[in-house]
C-alpha cells in the first residue's frame, strides 16, 4: 500500500488530494499508468512541464522503483513568497 499526494493545480484537476493504492505499483511509471487509466486528464497533467515526483519526501528523476514506498507525491511548478 502506498499513499499518493497531489499538490497545487494537480489536486484541482483530480478532485482529490490524497489516495491510497493497494497493492503498491512496482514502479513510478506503473503508478502513473494506473492513474491515467482512471483519469486521462490527470495522467496528462502528471507528465506536464515542470511536474516532479517525490518518493518518501525525496525528489526522484525518471522511472524509479516504488518497492517499500509509503508515500508518492506529485509536485507541479513551485511558487512561494
Amino acid at each position: 500500500m502506498t499513499r499518493v499526494l497531489l499538490f497545487g493545480r494537480l489536486s484541482d484537476i483530480a478532485g482529490w488530494r490524497e489516495r491510497r493504492f493497494d497493492p503498491t505499483p512496482a514502479r513510478l511509471s506503473a503508478l502513473k499508468a494506473l492513474i491515467a487509466k482512471d483519469d486521462r486528464g490527470l495522467g496528462e497533467a502528471l507528465d506536464g512541464p515542470g511536474v516532479r515526483a517525490a518518493v518518501d519526501k525525496a525528489l526522484v528523476r525518471g522511472d524509479v522503483s516504488l518497492a517499500g514506498a509509503a508515500e508518492v507525491a506529485f509536485l507541479p511548478p513551485m511558487s512561494g513568497g
Binding site: D12, A54, K57, A73, L75, P76, M78, S79, G80, G81
Partner: protein, 146 residues
C-alpha cells in the same frame, strides 16, 4: 531556523528576537513579503506546502547559503493557508559580520523561495481563482545564483 505558519505573524517581533543579543553580528538584512490586493483583483492568496518535505528542501538551500555567504544565522518564516491583502506571507532575516553577505544571502533565499521552494500559490479574486506560477523574472532572478 525555518517555520511554516498557518496564522498571521509579527515580522517586527521576529526581527527583534533575531537581532537580540548579537554583539558580534554587525549586519541583519531582512525581507518581508506582503500579500498585494491588486486594487481589489486579489481578495486572498492560498498557499499550500508539503509539510516535512517543504522545510527539508528549504533547509538544504539555507544551509548551503550559510556556507556560501558566511552567514552567522538565518530565519525563514513562511505562511501557509489563506492570506489576506496586507498580511505578511514570508519573512527572511540573515545575520553576518558585514552587510554584503547579509544582503546577498537574503536576496538569494528570497529568489529561491519565490521560484523553487515547494509551495503552491492560488490567487482568489472577484473573477474566480488561479494558480500562480513563477514569472519569467522570478526564474531569471533565481538563475543568477546557479
Amino acid at each position: 531556523m525555518i517555520r511554516l505558519l498557518d496564522q498571521p505573524f509579527d515580522p517586527g517581533a521576529e526581527l527583534n528576537r533575531f537581532c537580540a543579543g548579537r554583539t558580534e553580528t554587525g549586519a541583519v538584512a531582512s525581507f518581508t513579503g506582503i500579500a498585494r490586493g491588486e486594487a481589489g483583483q486579489a481578495t486572498a492568496l492560498e498557499l499550500e506546502a508539503y509539510p516535512g518535505f517543504t522545510e527539508a528542501q528549504i533547509d538544504e538551500i539555507a544551509q548551503a547559503a550559510v556556507t556560501r555567504f558566511g552567514l552567522q544565522d538565518f530565519l525563514i518564516l513562511h505562511r501557509v493557508g489563506r492570506i489576506a491583502p496586507g498580511e505578511a506571507i514570508v519573512f527572511v532575516a540573515t545575520a553576518s559580520a558585514h552587510r554584503r553577505a547579509a544582503f546577498e544571502a537574503c536576496d538569494h533565499l528570497m529568489d529561491y523561495l519565490k521560484s523553487r521552494a515547494p509551495f503552491w500559490k492560488k490567487e482568489h479574486g472577484p473573477g474566480g481563482e488561479r494558480w500562480v506560477e513563477p514569472t519569467a523574472r522570478d526564474l531569471a532572478d533565481a538563475a543568477r545564483w546557479d
